[in-house]
Amino acid sequence: MSGVVFAETLRRHVRHGAYLTAIAVLAILAATAGSVGGNPSLWLTFVTLGTIIIGCQLIGPEFSSGTLQLVLAKPVNRSAYLLSRFAGVVVAAWILVTLPMLFDVLARIFFQHQELHSADFAVPVNTGIENLMLCALLALFGAMTRSYLNVALYFLGEITLYALDSGLRSIARHDYAPSSFLRDHPGIEKGVVAIIRTLYPEGPPTFDWRWTVTVVSNVVVALLLACLIFRRREVPYGAD
């Protein structure tokens, strides 16, 4: 890991006007939701959106802008560089969850006089863990593509897998030619669902250490793959 790359990545985000505005807006949304006893998923949706915007800049745009060529001309370990960028982005993304969560909780205490339950913290914390996987996937896709194609691949994968799952279910329910085959082999549907749950995890409403361990192990595997791809990647000058 490179402390300089991590600090620079974090600094670049937390000092950006758009990032600070996003935090302020999220804090207001969270405080409003908390004061009227609203569902935290109202503001957590925007946290995920913010994480996608931060995460899509993880590595691809640096390739296209020429920054990466300049950085790799120095004796920097590629994996350390990628992991430090990832860590910087994750911390920036977690700040996006943590600060509004505090406003949400404080508003619930002061305006709703609500007794705090573990779910008040579990839902935002699990969203933070979900976003860890999101950033790992954006790092993985970014390691093999240019520009903002990582985020395009992320959405393409999600849409394709959900469409495939719906399609298989629909075929299995009706009386088409492969319907009986799908009904006889339920492992096919289960396999697609398992891939969806691995790549696009969805946090439970309570703390669940099994789910957390599963997601974190997937994150580490995705990062290992990203490093393996990135170490072999050609980064010629004037790539784009």
Partner: protein, 159 residues
Amino acid sequence: MAPIESQRGIPRWLPALALLLIAVRVGVALWPEKKGASHALVHWVSIADAKGVAASTRKPILYEFSAEWCGPCKLMERDVFNDAKMAARINEHYVPVRVVDRQQEEGANPPEIDQLQRRYRVQAFPTVVVADAGGEERGRVQGYGGPDAFTKFIHDHAP
């Protein structure tokens, strides 16, 4: 300047950590089988936790009353609760609680299941009841009328 090869090296701790976590994950996958937990797509919440979670998340509770021997319940499980898209919708909008009847298997139900069945006047399986955090009923559907009817029910009663 460090040699070029070191620029492309992988930190040793990363594959080691990946292997360790994969080993832990395998252990985690085996653990719930012993304890009888499920790998359900829907994040079922226990009866005891349901009201607390509903109050915190401001979502209504979705009680699913079913039984092991009930055929339509299994059909609903396959079509609805094992459908990733549908499960995601349920997790997003509701606090799902599964209430499995044990009358036939054990002769009597645990008191909390008995109480819920009486409160929501459950007469057949499956019965799905939507209730607010205070337990007030907001909607119900008795029997399984297919995925489309259930999707409409879920959509109509979502906050």
